[in-house]
Every structure is written in C-alpha cells, then in structure tokens.
C-alpha cells in the first residue's frame, strides 16, 4: 500500500478498501437537512486514522514555534478565556467523489458529506497575539493527536493556514452546547469558517508558527487539485457553493429511490458556500433542462447554510430534481462535475430521481 500510485476506477462498483472507509465514515442522512443545526451523530464524519482516546485532565494545548512567548494551556485555561459560539457549515473536500467518472479511489462520498454544528470555544487570534508572532511568521501549523500511515508516510494529521486565516479560527471545546464528541475531536478542535473540512484539525494538541510555508503530506500531496501525479496543483481552501434537497416522499429500502404521491409538494433544502453568502438557489424538476428561482430563508449564520423552498405540483411519472446554488461572489454550481485526480470539490448540481405515483 505504501507509496502506491493514486488510482482511479472506471466501474461504478466500489472496492473492498473503499467499503472499509465507508463503513466507518458517514454522511448526513439527507432528510436531516430539515434541521438548521445537525444533531450529534448525524454530522458527516471523515477520520483519517483512529479516534484517539484523550485524557481531558492532563490535556494541554501547546502554542510555539516562531513566537516570543510559547504557551501551554489546559482545557480550564481555554475555558476561562472569552467564549464564542458560532454555527458553521462544514463539507468534506471529497464530497461528490464517488459520482466522478473515472472515480478517484478514496472515501467514496456521494453528496452527503456535510453538516452544521454550533461550535463553541475561544478565538485563536487573541491567543496568538498573546504568544507574540515573530516578524517572520507566515503560517500557523495545527497538529492533531491522531496518527497513522498515509501515502507511505507515518504522520500525525497536520494542516497549516496563513496567519490571517488562522486568526479567524475558533478553538472549539463545545459542539451543539456539549463537549466536542470523541469522533469530532475531543477535547479540542480547530474550526475555521468557510473552509473545507480538512482545515478543522481534530484532537488539536499543538499550534506552531512557521517562518516557511508547511510542506507536509496533507498540504503538499493531499488536498490539492491536479490532473496527474506529480503536478503541483492548486490547494483546496474555501468551500465551493453547493445546494442539496431533503429528498421528498419516502424511500425504498434497498435502492433509496424516492416515492411520492402526485400533487403539490414543497421541496426544501439548504445551500452553502465558503466564498460568500448564498445569493440564489434555483430548482429544476425536469432533469436540469430548466431552472426556476427558489424562495430563500434567513441564513442560519454568516458561516452556515441557508434554507430554501420550492413549490412543485408533482405529476405522475419519473422525474429528476435538481437544486443549484449561486453565492454572493458570483460562483454557481456547474451542471457537470469538474474532474481531478483526487476527486475534490465536485460541486456539480445534484440529481434526485423520484417516482411520482399513487400508492396501491
């Protein structure tokens, strides 16, 4: 496995290795898009290695590297600082990967790798200010307590951010008003508004200011958009706009195909973008041939998704429903998936097949 080349697969069928990932990691059950804040256990989850068991009593966050005054903080120290809570929508950068063709082999997300939580903690900016960044500091490196092999390299999970972005980060010790659960980073997680999920380092144990950009695996090999091995590619940063609907009607168990009765139905969903507020959502009930404007709800927060609704008089027959988001920065979801070797940032519009008929 180590050093194995990136692989893509032409078949729609999923390999045993992908299944092992899918059996651990899970998406948001899409009917839960009805909730503005995702309940614990339903938020998507992508865990690179194992969930570490962390003793909260002896836990310390170390802040060091290119700073004047290194800090070592207990959870109590962090809790004694100013507390901020903020709803944030996160999406896995690999969301939509399994819908690409050929399919990049990794966690095989369809479209459900998203969730919104109310994160509570203390802002990183003031804490870095106290540590006193040296003049040459350019990035903050975040290290988690989790470890494993990836791309042939033994590593702790590590990601870096430019200092200006790091200042916007929240050191979260609460999720939905309770301690961050083990699978989401207990006892401490970095959360950064607007960025793809890989940014939000779980089980955060160390913040290291760097005078040179970080070149580790998760920054220079993973989480980059390129077409072939060896290309430098572009790093993933903020979430591209995406909209999903709570699938209408009821499912068939084995296929998850949707069945609904003919007549008026309100389609509902949520849309988000890391580049600006959602400005418009349009909906198609004819397989993407035509789109019409949906009604927007108030956003759940300035870094969280925005609800939408669309009235449809469902005629008998089979239909493909789609929703499409546009953000205030002018980004719109593409109709066809953008392809790259690792399968990141596929924000093509959803295609939800429904069967409209009377129950017999």
């Amino acid at each position: 496995m180590e050093g194995a080349p990136s692989r893509t697969i032409d078949s729609e069928d999923i390999t045993p290795a992908e299944l092992r990932l899918a059996a651990r990691n899970h998406g948001l059950p899409l009917e839960l898009l009805r909730e503005p804040i995702t309940p614990i256990g339903l938020h998507y989850l992508l865990i690179h290695y194992d969930i570490p068991g962390v003793d909260a009593e002896s836990f310390r966050l170390e802040v060091g590297g290119a700073v004047e005054r290194p800090l070592s903080l207990s959870l109590a120290d962090l809790r004694a600082r100013e507390r901020v809570t903020r709803p944030m929508t996160f999406e896995c950068a690999g969301n939509g990967r399994a819908l690409l063709s050929p399919r990049p082999v990794s966690q095989p997300w369809l479209s459900e790798a998203v969730g919104t939580a109310e994160w509570g903690g203390t802002l990183l900016g003031p804490l870095l200010e106290e540590a006193g960044p040296l003049d040459g500091a350019v990035e903050a490196l975040f290290t988690g307590l989790d470890s494993g092999f990836e791309g042939g390299v033994f590593q702790h999970y590590q990601r870096a951010l430019p200092l200006a972005e790091a200042d916007r980060g929240l050191l979260a010790y609460e999720m939905n008003g309770a301690p961050v659960p083990p699978q989401h980073g207990f006892p401490l997680r970095l959360v950064v508004p607007g960025w793809y999920g890989m940014t939000n380092v779980k089980w955060l144990t160390r913040v290291t200011l760097l005078e040179e950009p970080f070149q580790g695996f998760q920054q220079s090999v993973a989480y980059r958009m390129y077409g072939d091995d060896g290309e430098p590619g572009e790093p993933l940063t903020r979430m591209m706009p995406r909209s999903l609907m709570a699938p209408p009607g009821v499912p068939e168990f084995m296929t998850r195909e949707r069945h609904l009765e003919p007549g008026p139905v309100t389609l509902r969903g949520r849309a988000w973008s890391g580049w600006g507020q959602i400005a418009a959502v349009t909906v198609s009930t004819d397989g993407g041939a035509t789109f019409a404007e949906a009604e927007l709800e108030e956003p759940v927060g300035d870094a969280a998704w925005r609800g939408w609704r669309f009235h449809w008089d469902a005629p008998e027959g089979e239909h493909v429903l789609s929703s499409r988001a546009t953000d205030a920065a002018g980004n719109t979801q593409p109709l066809e998936p953008p392809w790259n070797l690792k399968g990141y940032a596929n924000n093509a519009v959803e295609r939800v097949r429904v069967v409209v008929g009377r129950r017999t």
Copy 2:
C-alpha cells in the same frame, strides 16, 4: 425495484445501491471497543427508511389490540413510571454480510455493526399488565413512525414478539443519560435484551396485542434465515456469540491495514452473546491455526458485552489475528461463515491482518 428477487453477487466489489446504504448507515469505529459504553454517534446505525421528525409534546404511545383497557400515554406519563437503566449490547442481524461469498445484496456490513448503550426508560411488562391482555393474546406488535417501501410493500416498520419476550422489553426514552437521539428512535424506542437489532423498534408509536402471530414483511420475509426465495426459513431471534478486537497499532488511511511495532502488546476487545454470558474468549495470532485463552473482564452488564485482553509478543512480519467467543449456553463462533440468502447472523471469527515492523 419493487418485488425484485433477492440477489447475491460473486464479486467483492460493492454496487452503487449498497454504497448508498453504507453512506447513511455506519458501524462502530472498532478502536472504540475500548469504551464500555459507546458514545453517542459511534453506536452502529441501521435505518430502514428516513429518520422521522417527531414532536415530543404531542407524542403518544398507544397500547391496544387484544387488551381490556387500551392506553394512550404521553412522554410525561412514561417518565412518571418506574425508571430503569440498563447497559445493552445490540448488533445488527446483517453484521458480517459483506464478508459472505457470494454476497447477499443489502446494507454491506463488514464486522462493525455493534454498540453498547445505557438505555433508560420504563419496563413494558407492568404496562401491559395494566392494559390487561385478553386470554387469547399471543404476541405484541410494535409499530414505528418511520415508513417506506421494502420488498415492493409500503409499510411502517413493524416487528412482533411473543408476550413473554415483550414483557422483558424496555420502553427507552434515554440513551446514555440523554434523550434518545433522532437516529436511534427519538422520542421512544423498544429495546429488548439479547436480541438482534431489528427487534428494537425505533420511533415506537403503538403496541398492539395480537391473537394470531404477526405475518408482516419484517417478520415473515425479512429477518429470516433461508437458502432460497420462498422457503419459510427460521426467524432471527437472539444474537449469536461474537468477539471483536480493537485493532492494534495504527492504520493506513486508504486500506485500514494495521501497522505496529514489534514487541509486547496487549490485544483488547469485547465479546457478547444473546444466549448467555460470555464464558470464554480465545485468541489466535497465527491465522486461526491455534487459539489460546484470553483473560476476561467483568461484564459491562448482564445484557452487555464483556471485555477481554491477551498478551502478545508481536514478531516482525505479517500476521492474522482472530478472537473467538464461547457463551455459557455452549455456542462458539464458527471459523467459517454460515451462509444464507439474506446474509444474516454471520458470526464467523474475525481475521485482522497486521503488519509488524519498525517505523523507518
């Protein structure tokens, strides 16, 4: 899809329909076997249809059918009754399905569809006593608020139990000391010690005493062991014994293959059975050729799993580790999977491949 025949697949590769199920439902991340009680969000989850949104204020549990005094109870009524808490281990009847060959097509579980929660609620027995079962009552039918199509039939999820077993059931409104989460049956779930997971009807809204055995889909078609369509087969009831280990070492991200350093290591895991207390666990470090006794911990409860540990001096090289449980009723895990058309109750011993070597 409706009425489609049961299918099995010879390939190890997973179909898109199976992936859609795997992206929603999820297992216990096996490193969490370290915890006696599974934290919220990490317990396995198998949801037939959609998670219903239930208003706790207007919720009623109806008790009727072949009773002298039908009851209608609010959550407050149920909470006012005697409260019982009990740790219980549940396992999905389909656990191990994806390891069968040919593979029955449904939720593609490997071995992780298990969890242990501290369930809190009130016993069903005294409540049925108050309702006064008629002389002819033989079964209690449990109906959930969730609905969908399955096997071509529109249905609410329904399962029945003989009255003597129903009396042992707990009407649970708490899981791990908090309200039952939406995905586990909020606001009320039946939980029955020792039985496979399908017994524990989520979003429970009605208990109906029957004078004839229930013949609905989930009783007479699904959750039965047979070799071919149309055979009556045997109904699934209690959990067969199984043991799993917390995989030692660290994983490789893509393959989940385990890597550990050579030298002494304590292997740990948990074992359970619905037929009696776990009496012994044996462990093999040579691919199942030989087994040696593991040390047993105190059980987490009389209806919950039991921890075990085994000391191993790991030599360099590749090894296959297995653990094997025997219960007090004399049932032992088979070395080879028992096969049936729907892929239920595959409790064959696990095979955990590990690579022992020094990190370079």
